[in-house]
Symmetry: C2
DNA sequence: TGAAAGATACCGTTAGGTCGGTATCATGAC
DNA sequence: GTCATGATACCGACCTAACGGTATCTTTCA
């Protein structure tokens, strides 16, 4: 809040603060409502500083998105590391992370941001590329049709919990759904009975 | 295009034209890029006319959204009327309509608009209410957990085809997925074998 | 001292919205 | 019929505000 003038200069820290504040504002009201003035004010810095660190608003936003995706990426990696079963490992991690409580319940704010991201073509590209890369990387273990169905359902659930802007429902059957989806990934594995993978 | 001044006044027609042009522009470039000036120009009227028919831009946009939802609603009703099997009738119609080719392939333009709609809280409310109403109406025939899963997967597929901004893929396995989802709705019906509805 | 970091003041654009005016329409009286 | 009259439909110039971005000047650090 206080002016950062006659203070010890910490460029990296300011840059991080800018990124964090931008993410926070975007989370609260969506990307469209996020203004550079607002970010500067939240970060206790002036526009001069912001435009010193980021060439444009677009650059700032892309930085935020990359951060977010990196975070998601890391969480998925962590979830995969805890899973002994190779078949469908990525899909399970994906379901686990995207349908994890903090992601959904915490104000449902992630929603606004994610949607805003998808609304902008340039940012959509980033997400799209990440998805494609991740998918091709695990094609060997997660290429089955039933696994794709599971991931689609997870996306749909994410979307559904996103659309209901009434946070009255305390995320009702989310855990049940997650368990069911995880079970589906295991039911289709090679050593299992119902083996109908395409 | 020509000025509608010394012309026979047709308020309803102008209103409709405004709505249609707004929808078209929103489809082409997303809601955020849709400007009242643009709509007026496309409709061959001035801002005075627009703000005479709609109290604000928000009102115009809400009108567009309501129109769109009404259209979707009608398509679903039509699909349901063609379906003899009561169990899961709504879910099948939902899958059929949302994953229908024109909705997806046609320039992928619906995507931009739908996403824009979901990005704005006020509009999200409209969609949310419609969903809730429709769901509660068919709770008797479409309340099963496996049907919910099918609808979620349809939503996920819709989202997936929406995110890929590369229209290079000619909607690959869409028909297969649709068939699979429809089959799932029929497999779980009372007279069938796998009867595990909750 | 000179380059990086940040502040302050300013600009050009563009958007949604307003406002007074004008043309057209629906009436009812005569 | 037609003519006054009030309401509706529409025009078009103007307003205001906020946004992203720039230019320049000051402070801090190595």
């Amino acid at each position: 809040m206080a002016s950062a003038s006659h203070r010890k200069k910490q460029p990296e820290r300011v840059r991080r603060t800018l990124l964090d504040c931008a993410a926070k504002l975007a989370l609260e009201q969506g990307l469209a409502a996020m203004t550079v003035q607002g970010v500067c004010h939240a970060a206790g810095v002036t526009k001069g500083a912001l435009f010193h660190h980021f060439a444009s608003k677009q650059a700032l936003v892309e930085g935020v998105v990359s951060d977010l995706i990196g975070q998601l990426d890391a969480e998925i990696d962590a979830a995969m590391a805890r899973d002994p079963e190779p078949y469908g490992r990525y899909t399970r991690a994906y379901v686990d992370v995207t349908l994890h409580d903090p992601m959904m319940t915490e104000g449902g704010q992630w929603a606004a941001l994610h949607i805003s991201i998808l609304a902008e073509p340039a940012l959509r590209r980033i997400v799209s590329d990440w998805f494609a890369e991740r998918l091709s990387r695990h094609h060997g273990t997660d290429g089955g049709a039933e696994l794709e169905l599971v991931r689609l359902a997870a996306d749909g659930a994410w979307l559904a919990y996103l659309v209901r802007d009434r946070p009255s429902d305390p995320v009702p059957a989310l855990d049940a759904l997650r368990a069911r989806l995880v079970a589906m990934t295991l039911a289709g594995r090679p050593g299992s009975a119902g083996d109908d993978r395409a």
